[in-house]
């Protein structure tokens, strides 16, 4: 017991006048001072860095290559990576609890197989979709149960899940199975016009501008969240401008599904007890237990969520490829993990945002677009750059957490 004193946390004695973010009652010491000492809360720093990285890359691409920043090209970042967005969302849940899920790539392959196989067998598209999602979710659920009830490390348990899913693929068929279903075809390629007319865009931008004004007026209530809110609204304006930029602009249902997944994930993570427990476990599992939260349930559930997202991603991948094949999505788990890390989520858990993972996927997509636009750069640069970015973010997180503790 007497050792408990020893590693006395390096706390700075509270400076007179206040420590850390303080209540509102205090008279302000002048606007300039507030501006000078303004510090966006530490948790937003990584995601702001990701956003800056993404926009910076677009900027550089736009300067170097004709048409790089055209609305359709930027929108295609999403169209071509919709499945990865969904995977990254599921992975975010797992990583936020401090775990990892290596099985998602294999589950994507398995999902394409299950979908193709059931369709070939004459199932209705709806039944095929339900079956696919069920398989992925159950697999995730089982993995989660092994992890929680038997204390097996997530790394190893999901490794087993990875082997299992791949093995099941081969059990279904060694060959590629084409998908010829009309519904799938429709979902895969039916263009949805999403261009905004100038007046529509104008209204949206006006609303966003109003939001900005409101945010600045209510800055006292927003405090450290002010900058992220302003940046978010700014990004909204940029997106609106993009949508106004090309009257022919279209997208696919995959993108709609992916963005809906992101939206639902944000709601769940930030507005439900389940979501907050995910964060609490990542922060400190022991504390979460002492707070009386349902730690066991949530730990199992995040793997089920990840399994669900992997199978949904697999469906989107099936829309994209229109085939089921055992060798689909080899190594895709690494892309998903990389997207989450580049999106600013702490691999140790507890910190990170789903929007960050979306941005992470967009960054990965931009790298690919870069390489395809350039023509002289070889495809392997994708991997090298992704590795370098992962390193950059891991080291950045390390520095940030070290400074805090």
């Amino acid at each position: 017991m007497s050792t408990q004193l020893r590693p006395a946390p390096a706390t700075t004695p509270p400076a007179p006048g206040g420590t850390g973010p303080r209540g509102t009652g205090r008279p302000s010491r002048g606007r300039w001072h507030a501006l000078r000492t303004y510090q966006p809360s530490g948790r937003f720093l990584p995601i702001l860095a990701t956003l800056a990285l993404f926009l910076g890359m677009l900027q550089v691409g736009g300067l170097r290559y004709e048409g790089f920043t055209s609305s359709q090209v930027i929108l295609n970042l999403l169209t071509d990576n919709a499945f990865l967005v969904v995977l990254a969302v599921g992975m975010t849940f797992v990583i936020l609890t401090g775990g990892i899920d290596l099985s998602v790539g294999s589950v994507v392959a398995l999902s394409t197989m299950v979908a193709a196989w059931t369709l070939q067998d004459g199932w209705s598209p709806v039944a095929a979709i339900v079956a696919t999602l069920t398989v992925g979710t159950v697999l995730g659920l089982l993995t989660g149960m092994v992890i929680h009830f038997f204390d097996v490390q997530p790394f190893i348990a999901t490794l087993a899940g990875m082997f299992l899913a791949r093995g099941l693929c081969y059990l279904i068929s060694v060959e590629s199975i084409p998908i010829r279903d009309d519904t799938f075809f429709f979902l895969a390629s039916e263009p949805i016009a999403i261009a905004l007319a100038p007046w529509q865009g104008g209204v949206v931008i006006g609303l966003l501008a109003l939001g900005m004004v409101a945010a600045v007026v209510k800055r006292a209530a927003l405090r450290s969240a002010l900058l992220p809110v302003l940046v978010g609204l700014g990004v909204g304006m940029w997106v609106t401008l993009l949508l106004m930029g090309d009257p022919e602009l279209t997208t696919t249902y995959s993108v709609v599904i992916a963005l809906a997944t992101v939206a639902v994930a944000i709601l769940v993570l930030h507005r439900t007890r389940f979501g907050r427990t995910v964060y609490a476990i990542g922060g400190s599992e022991a504390s979460a237990l002492l707070m009386g939260l349902r730690v066991g349930f949530v730990k199992v559930a995040v793997y089920a969520v990840s399994g669900f997202c992997a199978s949904l991603g697999g469906l989107l991948f099936a829309f994209y490829m229109l085939s089921g094949y055992s060798l689909h999505a080899v190594g895709m788990e690494l892309d998903a993990i990389a997207a989450v890390v580049i999106g600013g989520t702490l691999l140790a858990g507890g910190r990170g945002l789903v929007v960050g993972s979306l941005l992470g996927v967009l960054v990965l997509g931009t790298i690919q677009t870069f390489i395809s636009f350039d023509g002289t750069l070889s495809s392997w640069w994708t991997k090298i750059v992704i590795g370098a970015l992962v390193l950059l973010f891991v080291v950045m997180q390390r520095v940030l957490t070290r400074r805090q503790s």
Binding site: Q153, L159, G167, S378, A388
Partner: protein, 358 residues
């Protein structure tokens, strides 16, 4: 001897039994399985193929054992192996004397040096920067194959050098060179680890890092060393894989081999939580994995389902190692369960340290 019997009963027994069972299954399916015949002064047979094909996994598992013993993990070995093979092949192809023995030697040295450098990099991230091993080695896992393709310029580089080819498919005294090399390295390492103090210090760091620090063990150096060694082993394995086909395939050389290696280590009885390690166990584990891979086609199941069997093995082994699962099994056997004994009074106030901060 009491010691030896205990080790046998706890860690080596099960993998050995499974290995034996696999062999029996093979013999039943194919009575000629165990046959080894001499032809052109070489040994031929399924068993010879198993030891030859198992050489790269064995080498990588060897390096992985030491890494895992320090509470670490090295995910990048497959990618490092690919880079090693790529460096060797590209050097040979670009040298004026592509098929010379000297060229092959320089190529191998160059490849191994590269892999040692990559091991240094991993070790730096883990031991100096203090990044979690899974994450630190993830960087090279992601980027490594890209680097290998950078070296080979995205081509499958084929070389025409018989000396180099020997590492993969050659025979000396009737035995496959790959297996001989792997076994020699294995033996040397076992000797090095147990004859010097490296093994003891590695285990000390893995079992109780803080106590080791207070006893003056330079944990940073020890950790760093094992990652460098792991890189070296991966390089050797990469050379074998490349020599096997006389080509460097940046995309597929050593694909998933890190998982096989980790599996071999775990099957061999070394806990992923670090600490005591068993090189003999790793040896058996690696042999088991290779035999499993050979068994499946031999008994007439498509070899692609290999994965399914591996999954089953991983799950079974992990459940056997998990204290919780064992407790459940034990409780089934001996009812009623005694009340969980509370922590001894000496332990400090509730263990509220964050769970699982490995």
């Amino acid at each position: 001897m009491r010691d030896a019997s205990r080790v046998f009963s706890s860690t080596l027994l099960w993998p050995l039994l499974v290995l034996l069972a696999l062999l029996v299954v093979n013999v039943v399916a194919n009575p000629g399985f165990l046959e080894v015949r001499v032809q052109d002064g070489r040994l031929f047979g399924s068993l010879v193929d198993i030891v030859r094909n198992g050489a790269p996994v064995l080498l990588i598992a060897l390096g992985m054992t030491l890494v895992i013993a320090t509470r670490g993990i090295d995910l990048s070995v497959g990618a490092v192996a690919a880079i090693g093979g790529a460096v060797a092949c590209v050097y040979m192809v670009s040298s004026p004397d592509e098929s010379g023995l000297g060229t092959a030697l320089v190529a191998c040295a160059l490849a191994l040096a590269t892999c040692v450098a990559l091991g240094l990099w991993n070790g730096f991230l883990v031991s100096v920067l203090g990044i979690q091993p899974i994450i630190a080695t993830l960087v090279l896992l992601v980027a490594g194959r890209g680097l290998a393709m950078l070296v080979t310029d995205g081509q499958i580089t084929t070389v025409n050098n018989d000396s180099f080819r020997t590492i993969g498919v050659g025979f000396v005294l009737g035995l496959p060179v790959a297996a001989l090399v792997a076994w020699a390295v294995f033996g040397l390492t076992a000797l090095l680890v147990r004859r010097t103090a490296l093994g003891m210090l590695v285990e000390a760091v893995g079992i109780n890092p803080e106590a080791s620090r207070l006893a003056g063990v330079r944990a940073v150096t020890i950790r760093w060393t094992v990652y460098v060694f792991s890189g070296l082993c991966a390089g050797l394995a990469g050379l074998m894989i490349a020599a096997n086909t006389s080509a460097a395939d940046a995309n597929n050389a050593g694909l998933w081999i890190e998982l096989d290696a980790i599996l071999a280590v775990v099957i061999g009885g070394t806990s992923l939580a670090g600490g005591r390690f068993s090189l003999a166990g790793t040896f058996v584990g690696a042999l088991l994995i290779t035999t499993l891979a050979a068994t499946i086609p031999n008994i007439g199941i498509p070899s692609e389902t290999n994965y399914l069997f591996k999954a089953v093995v991983v799950i079974v082994v992990c459940l056997l190692q998990s204290p919780k699962a064992r407790a459940v099994l034990r409780r089934r056997r001996t009812t009623p369960a005694p009340p969980a004994p509370p922590a001894p009074p000496e332990s400090p106030t509730p263990t509220l340290a964050k769970a699982g901060t490995r």
